[in-house]
Each structure stands twice: as structure tokens, then as C-alpha cells.
Symmetry: D2
Subunit: 357 residues, 4 copies
């Protein structure tokens, strides 16, 4: 079928006009765009530098108040391929959030699932359904859908961290609800660990209250000391000759829901990867989109054909089916999150390991 | 926080310009659009008439050849709210497909999940992985993701039917793969029932080959006689005084995967509803989008504030969180499909029954 | 460690006596019995003849009334290896039940799961929670745990059928509850099919009432015409060159719970096997115990080293890990039930195919 | 139906004799025993004293060597109601195992699931598939079915602990396999924590190797410090006014499989309960059998109508459907294990809270 030939036919022109008038649209003229041979994301691979992000957040801290209405002083990563919408990937939203000394971000809740990851600083507590959760370097915090949450800074220093949400996905699928809560936070105490952790963050143990499988993890915060220890042990076991790492020099943990063993939230996967000095990861590409933040160290990440040097705080987006690998001379720690639970629960997951040249 | 005040600040203007230059985007200026209080779909409620659809399909049959490249003579319903993209809802694609006498639509496969529903006509066989499946009025056919399929018309009459796919969702999430197959169909025989049905379409029985849970239903076609009988029995049981219907006068079945009891495919739910003469359904709204096709009879469907008279073949779209109800003087049969499996597997499902005035 | 040496030691004798006095028991003297190298059932392979069973049931019909207290005129198969207890295997109970003209077996319920299978006759209705279920040759009926049920014979002819329950398992694990119900049956109407079937026995369809996964199948009766058709289709597909049978000449279906795709009840699996004239099954042994009833035809079943000729109505028990195979000159139809769901849900399942000599 | 009347009938006597000769057994004469109204276990409530158990184990240590054949110096609790078989309940086996200075119990594996719980002492390593696991007071160790395991004592002191297995269940259901392994242990190193723990015992984290759901927990040992901390936190949260305990003064954790959130092994549930000084538990009875060992403190346990004073090391058996409660003046710590996974996976579970007098 030659579309050139078709296009010059006046009867056909009338037909196409009639289609349009009746809110119809022929498949045959646009099949390739609608159904490409492999995932062809509009999103592009990109790197945001911490050295850019943090100063801009500071300037926003000076100029923009935080409070009811705007809700959060969060600056979103807008993937350059997505035409200006504030989405880091088609499904994921990622931002740097900044809270000045003694500031409070008021409570609200929404069906969107959210997490925080702290690359530097401390002194803010996120209050989740009345449970204050200290935020410190390396901690991974959850506020799953429809839990009230606010943030307050108890110190004389500002603090910034990374937020990750499924805002684009929820917006696109028309599944979002939002509700305002208290203007302050409902508990301004400042414990070292949350009640949630005291109940749930014991290895392999669960309380006898609430024995069902929960939609999202009941652990409000995954502390750095545990993540760090788990990664260190994997590399130590590798040194001792035992299978423990993903591949030589590459330790990794997944944050999980202890009531199911699965992902922490229905739409977002989170992992932490440690790549030993002098090591590299195997090139791979997966269906679904992925974001890294360098937590520590430095290295090079190859995205498709292009290599980027990255260092602490830098954020890297890997669109669906983009080949990526990391290598490092000095060692690198990477926090990672993705939409893999969406892809896997709907059975679209595939992984491909390109041949090495 | 007054955005008016903020907007007039030159320092702030510079900040916002710097955001944009660095592919960043503040949350506080756009929160309401990104995270509305309830689902606020761009898609609008709409009705397409069979009396419009079918003649346009016929004209396409006369003017547009079917074959490799365009692949299918399918004319998609383009929701008027979605800016011209060929999507009936943000997640779903629906089209009338038309195949002339002796025509063949060549084989291909894709990760998108697809079904066909036949509102009139017969004489086409869909060949799924080499298994010919007759298409007749009232039949519901599956071609789950990554199964090769083609269509061929063995008669001297054209035939049209409805296709439903998750093309928008797959496109949006960058999860699609596509592969061409045979130019003809791999088996041009014309049995009354498919091998798949002979193996799998026996109530409560499964063959001892393939005892695992399958991602999608192995039943290639759900025949009208079974659907009709199931609905008739529900109404008869209601007449006899037993609980069998959804509500008085409203019988309904869900098409299921016999290996799990769940939906036929990971992303698409399909149901059939029969509303008895003089009955109506309770007003409701759900998270997720829904499409009806009138299979038989006529009635009125209320979408939000607006009532539409509908008759055989008409297609009606109900965007997420839109209140709908049906009432009928003479009885109406409705085929329905939706993205409910996506919504439910990711735990965004909610239903609301508005109070009656 | 020589147990001979140990046994002659007086200090040890005292120790063993002290063990006994304190309700203790050393492992080391009895390990082999407690933990054999492979399953070594006390139950033995055995065949009961229909030509024996049926006349004995008739005599019981003449001599023993049926009614409240004894509840059922059921004569249980007592595996000769099990020391006189009325268990066909360690976990399963099987009996021939006999109901004379116009007799009624009163209603009761129990946590034990039960089924009936009809090898000949008709005219009895089993009433399950008030739903009358006709019993005819080849039908497989369920009364899952804690459903009230009674039987009544509406004809002038007696009728006999097979009952299968998990009585031994429930007795052994102390999990049984029992409750008397109505002295008659709560609905003495005699429809051809039950309301349960009218709601649930449509291939791949489920009513929109009760959309959860159910513990046991909601289908009260799996009719012979469906079972027969499914088996006939498998053999026809085999003849046409397609994969449909377990092995050449061996068709088989499993009865399933349409809300899960799994077994009909939590403790009992039921299947139907058809072996074509001139065919045989591959020798195999499985963990778990299995009972066959010949439904039609005749053949030879090999149990361990011994071959038995079997014909319609004969019942054959295959204890755990006993090698079995069937061959037939004229074709044979076999109903089968087992404790496989217990074994599989607790992850003890293994299968072994011995090499052919 | 009067069984007296029936018994005196000579025709009936002949019938019953014919039943017996043909390995058949009438239901109506024994229904009450086979299918009681509520679970009526042959097992009885009973208490074994640590002050009895430990000295007898010591004497066995002096008199009975440990090694290949007898395999383990384990002395099983024989429920007085079960006629001398070495079963603590119909489904569970429990024993005190004793290993002298420098002794080794050789490696083997079996399909039976096993755990160890340490009420006093240390110095033994259990080697599970080559991974040495230190045993210390309060630790709970797993050797799930078909994992090779041996024990070796590296000290000059003997050590005793509790073994729990599903030997009776496996024996009864004919599901057991057994295989001998190395005569010594395959790794005689003595690390403080096992490799399994280094990989898996981090709260809410799992390694990226082996992402499937595992049949049994991959955590070889649940250390006392975690159990103790989890219980202490629950009571502290209760003191602070938050819901964290089962009931006032009663903290409890369940040991879980981190890959599923469910029980550690398919047949055995294990929990730890701490009852605060001056508190008591609510009377309850459950389907399934339960065993406690007092880990610390003392109190009174009421089993049916009888109250028993219990102290450290004492073992208490609660047969199915036996009402029990605990109260304590000084506080008590209780380790508990049961067959609840069997009962729940087969849907026989029920719980009843008797009214307080």
C-alpha cells in the first residue's frame, strides 16, 4: 500500500475529512508511530548535575515561600524529550525538595505514591500519618498513596533531598485523588527512629498486629546503616569466594515490602547499587524507565552511545529500552528507582543484554 | 503563597528562566494540574453511532487496500478531548475494522493486547498462532500480547467488527514491540470452532497439558451462545427469587482467564451486561476508563449530566470518574471493556455511588 | 553406633526407662521408621471390584435404614495395610453410598471436603445449601467443607455412587467440625441442573456477583457431557496432529475451581483420564496418594510389580510413591482423585518416571 | 437407627463379616469417632520440665554416642495421649538435642522441615548447605526441607537445644525422603554470623540475586538481639500510647520468610511472645496444634481447665481446639511453634475466644 498514491485521491481526502469530522482516525497512516518495532521513548537519556540542582534549590529557598497551595518547594526534573512537562520519564516524577531553617511543608495526602532519598544533610522530619520520621544521609523514606504527610525542618540549616513520585502515571491514567491535611505537622517531636521502624524494621520479624499482605511497605524509612551493611557484606562474601553479587564487583539490594517480599510500592521499585573500584556493570536494556542518583563516589555511565562522567548527587535518567552500563575507577554508590512494578505487573517486562563489541 | 506577587519579581523571573534552561520545572506553580483533587480526565464522555461508523468503514473498504505496512483497515475512535490522537481513552484504543470479500489482513504480533467483538456479520477467521478462529455475531475473541495473528475473509460479503487494544497505554509507557509475520495466514481452514476452544472452553475443566497459571486466557474465542445463556440464566434465577444479578434487572458476566479466574488479559477487562426491559442500573463512577458497545436493543445512557439515546452498534466512552447509568424501556445488551486490570493491579481502584436526587 | 551393644547396657536400660516414665522417646533407635529414605506407606496397592461393592451395598440397603445418627448408608474402602481403619489411603476416605427408592439422607455439614462421582444410575438429588443437584452417570459433584447437604431419591429404583472425602486427614490433623441440619432436604424439587451450574458452569465466564477467589469451586456439578466432550476433543486434536494429550492416546482433564484455575477443593484433586484402545500410560510415581475408579471400558493397571485387570466400577488405590501405569486393548475411562493439593500446597511434591526395562 | 437393634441381627452380622472380608467398613457405626462435632484430639495438654529434660539429655550424652545411623542425640517429647509414638502433637515432633564437647552430628538432608531454638548455652555451629551458623541463647535456626545439615560442638562444654520438625505429618502423609551427607561437617569454620544472614538479614532489603519467592525463608538464623529488640519496642510503644501489642501487656512477633512475608517454612509457624509482669493473655482456642517453650521468666499457663506453673525451659503442648491462656506476675518470654501453615493453607483455620466467666 503506497500512502503517496492514497494521499492524492480526492475521494480519499473526503473520506479522511469525514473521519476527522466524526472523531475517527485511520490506523493505516500512522501505524509505525503508534506501534513501533521496539520501545521508542520520547524521553531522552539525560544527566542533571547536583552542582546545578542544589544552588537553584537554594535560590528558590530564598525567593519562594513554602506553604498551603503550592505545598512543596520541589523543583522537578523535566526530561528534555518530553516537551516541557515536568516529568523525568513518561511515568515518573523526580524533584529536589528544599526546606529552609524552621520551615514546615504542610500535611496532605494523595493517591500518588512517593518516596524521599537523602543524598546530604539532615534535620528534617517527615511526618507520615502522625509518625515523625527523621531524614538523614542515605535514608530512603516512603509515603505510599493516601497517607497524610508533611515535612518540618527543626534546625537552623536548610536541607534538600530527592522526591520520587508516580505523578505522570497517575495523571495519565486519571487515577489521582488529593486531600489537604493539617497546616503544620501533627506531631512535631523529633525521635531518631519512627514508630513504624520500631514495629517493622527487624530482619525477618513481623508484629502480630496486621498479619495481612499490605499494598505498600509498612516501613517508613530504610536507614542507611542497614543498606550500607548489606552492600558491604555482599562484596565481602564475593571476596571470600561466595555468590552474593549481581556480577563481579557489583553489589545491589532491592528495598522491599516485608509483608510480601515484593516492591515497596505498587508503582515504584527502588534499589541501591554499589560498584567496586575498577569494576563495571554489564550493558543491558530493560522495558521501563529508570532514574539513578549518585550517592557517593564517581564513575562513568554510558547511555546508548554516550558516556557521561557522574559524581555525588548527579541524577541520570534511562528511558525504556535504552542500553546502559556503569564503570568506575574509584567506586561508586548509586541509588536507583524505576517503574518496573508497573511493567512487571502488567507483564510487559523484557531485558536484553547486547553483545559486547 | 500568592503566585501573582511572585510573578512580578525579576529575581524570580530569572530563577524560573534558569530552571527552564536546566530542564527543571517548579511544582508550586502547577500543582493543581499535576495533582487534581479527583481524576479530571482530558478525555470526554462521547457516543459514536454505528450508523456513522459502518458506512465510513464501507467507504474505506472501497478506497483503501489492506496489506503489509498499513496492516489493518481499522478506523479508530478518537476521543474529542484528547487533541486528535486516535485514543478512545487515555489507555485504550478502539476501532471498527473492515475486511472486504476474500481479503486478508497479514499476520503480525505485538506486545499490545488485543480483542475483537462482533456486533454483526460473519465469514472472517482470525488466525492466532496458526489456529483459525471463526468470527460470528456476539463472539469475543482474544489475541493477547505477542501472539501472531491475521484475518481473512472467506466469503463474498464484507465483514466489520470492533477491535480493542491497549495501544495508548503501551505507547505511553514505552513497552511495545512489534514483529511482522506471514503475508497471508498460516492456516486458511475454516472450522466452526478453534482448537483453543476445543482444548479450553469446557466449564470448570482444564487439559492436563500446561497446568501453570497463564498471563492471558488460553480461550481464543468466547462464543455468543455461552454468554447469552449465562445472562438468560441470571435473569431467570432472579425471577425465581434467587440472588444472581448485579442489581434488579441487571445481569452481567465477566470474561475470565480459566487458569486464574481473573481478567482475560493483563491490561483489559471485558464484560457483557444485559438490562431487562423497564430496568436501570445504579449510578456509579469508577477510577479507570470504560467503553461500551450496544450489542442489541436500545436504551439511554447517562454520562455525567447528559443523557444519550443509544441503539445497536453505538459505542460509548466513559472516562475515569465519570458518573454513568443506563436505563431501558425495551431491554438492552451491552458489551463493555475497560482498563480496570491496570487500575486494580496498581491499587488505584475506587468506586463511588452518588446519592440519588 | 551399634544398637545391639547399646541395648545390653543396664545404665542405658535405666535411661530408656526414665525416658518412658517422662514421656520421652529417643530418636536414634527408631530413625529409620520415622524418617525412611523414600515414602514407605503402610497403605498397600489394592483393587476393589464393583461386582463385590455393589451387591454388598444392595444388601446394606435391605438391612440398614438410613437416617439421623448414622447419617449415610456409606460403605468405606479400608486399605488392607492400614490395620482396619476405614481409610482408602492415609489421607482419603472413599465409599460406595446407596440410597433406596424414595429414601432421604438427612442434611448436615462438616469441615471435611466431599465429592460424589456417579458410575451408574440416576434419580437422586444432592441438595447443597438448598440447591438441588441432579446426579447422573458420569457426573462429578462437590460438597466443599461446611456446606449443608443431604440426598434424596425420587425414584422407585435404588441408586449407588462413590463418595470421596478427606476424613482421615481431617481426623488426623484434628481440624474437623460437624453440625446436623434439616432431617429432610430443604428443597425437594428436581431440576435437571442446579442453580450453581446455571450461574457458574459457562466456559470462561463468571457472574459479577462474588468476584473474589473462592476457597472451593462454586460449581456444584461437573456434568458428564462436558467431561466427555473435552476428552473426545483432545483425542481428535491428537489425530489431527496437534499437541493436546498428556501422551499418545492418553487424554485427561482436571476439574478446577473457576475462580482460581486451581483444584476444586483445598485437599482433593479430581481428574478424568481416557486411554485410547491399544494405548498405555508412562510408568510414574508421585508423592501423595491416588484412587481410581474405572468409569467405562477395561484394561490393566500395574501397581508396583503387580498387574490387575480392571473393568467398570472397579476401584484402585495407589499409595504414595507407588509406581503405576495403565494399558488397555479396548479403551478405558478412569475417574481419579488424590490428595495432591495437600502435597503441593505444602511443597512436598515430587514425581519420578522409572526407566522402562 | 438403633445400633443395638442392628447388632443382634444375624443377617446383619453376616453382612458386617462380608464387609470385613472384602476390606470394607460401614460409616454408620462409627460416624461419631470419624467425624466428631469439634476437634477431639487424642493428644493431651501436657508440660515437660526443663529440670527433667536437661539431666536426661546429659545422661544420654554420657551413654549414647552420636554418629552415622542414629544421626542425632535427640530425645523426643511423646505426647501421653498418642500411645507411645514420639510425637508431641499429631503433626509435630519436638526434642531436646544434646551435643557433647567436640562432638559432631553428621550431615544429612530430608524433606522434613526443621528448626532449632536455643534456650541456653552456645558453642555449636549448625552447618546448612555448607554455611556454618552459630547457635546462641535465644536464636531461632532453620533447616528447611532438603537442605543438608550437620552440627558440631567446638567447645569443651556440652550444649543442648530444642529441635522442632514436621516428622509426624510427613510420616503420616508419606511424603518423606532422606539422604545421608558428609560424615563430618563440610565447613568447620566458626563465624559469628552465617553467610545466609549476611545476605538476607537486613530489614526490608533483599539481594538482587534470587528475586523469586522462596518456599522457605533464606534466613538461616533469627538472632535473639533482633527478636528481643522487636518485643521491647512493642511494649515501649504501648507505654507511649500507640497500638503495637496483640493485647495489653502482650508483645509478639512472627518469624517470617522475607521473600513472601509468610511463615518461615511450609508446615511450621514460629513466634515469640513476651508477656509483661502482671499481665495475662485472652483465653483462646484454635484449630491446629501448638507448642511453647518458656525462654525466660515464669508464669502460669491454663490448658483447658488446668493451670500449670511454668519456668525457663519448660515445654508445653496445646492440642487442637484446646483453650489456653497465660498469666504472669514477673513477666514471661515464650517461644512458640505450631502447624498453623498446614491448617491455614488447607483452609481449616478457626479461632474461638470463650467468654470469660
Amino acid at each position: 500500500m503506497s500512502t503517496d498514491a492514497l494521499d492524492s485521491d480526492p475521494e480519499l481526502d473526503t473520506l479522511y475529512a469525514d473521519f476527522e469530522a466524526n472523531h475517527l482516525n485511520p490506523l493505516w497512516t500512522q501505524l509505525g508511530d503508534l506501534m513501533p518495532m521496539v520501545p521508542t521513548s520520547k524521553a531522552v537519556p539525560f544527566v542533571w548535575r547536583w552542582s546545578t540542582l542544589y544552588p537553584l534549590a537554594q535560590r528558590a529557598g530564598d525567593l519562594v515561600p513554602v506553604g498551603r497551595g503550592g505545598e512543596r518547594r520541589a523543583i522537578a526534573l523535566a526530561n528534555p524529550g518530553l516537551g516541557g512537562v515536568p516529568y523525568v520519564t513518561p511515568t515518573l516524577w523526580a524533584a529536589i525538595q528544599y526546606l529552609g531553617p524552621k520551615e514546615t511543608a504542610p500535611e496532605h495526602r494523595h493517591s500518588q505514591n512517593a518516596f524521599r532519598f537523602v543524598v546530604e544533610g539532615e534535620g528534617v522530619w517527615t511526618v507520615v500519618n502522625g509518625d515523625p520520621v527523621a531524614m538523614c544521609r542515605g535514608d530512603f523514606l516512603l509515603t505510599p498513596g493516601w497517607n497524610f504527610h508533611g515535612h518540618h525542618n527543626e534546625t537552623d540549616q536548610p536541607m534538600a533531598w530527592i522526591d520520587g513520585l508516580d505523578i505522570p502515571f497517575v495523571n495519565y491514567t486519571d487515577t489521582g485523588f488529593f486531600e489537604f491535611g493539617a497546616d503544620g505537622v501533627t506531631d512535631d517531636s523529633t525521635p531518631d527512629i519512627s514508630r513504624s521502624e520500631r514495629l517493622w524494621a527487624h530482619p525477618g520479624l513481623r508484629p502480630l498486629v496486621g498479619l495481612d499482605a499490605k499494598t505498600s511497605s509498612p516501613i517508613a524509612c530504610y536507614r542507611w546503616k542497614h543498606t550500607d551493611a548489606a552492600l558491604a557484606e555482599q562484596l565481602a562474601l564475593e571476596d571470600e569466594g561466595f555468590a552474593a553479587t549481581v556480577e563481579p564487583g557489583h553489589a545491589a539490594v532491592r528495598y522491599t515490602n516485608p509483608t510480601t517480599g515484593g516492591d515497596v510500592m505498587p508503582t515504584i521499585r527502588a534499589e541501591f547499587h554499589r560498584i567496586r573500584a575498577g569494576s563495571h556493570t554489564r550493558s543491558r536494556r530493560d522495558v521501563g524507565s529508570l532514574v539513578f542518583q549518585v550517592f557517593d563516589g564517581k564513575g562513568r555511565i554510558t547511555l546508548g552511545d554516550q558516556e557521561h562522567s557522574v559524581a555525588t548527587g548527579d541524577m541520570i535518567v534511562v528511558p525504556s529500552w535504552t542500553t546502559w552500563s556503569v564503570d568506575t575507577d574509584d567506586g561508586i554508590d548509586l541509588f536507583a528507582f524505576s517503574d518496573a512494578p508497573i511493567v512487571e505487573r502488567l507483564h510487559f517486562n523484557r531485558t536484553h543484554f547486547p553483545e559486547h563489541a
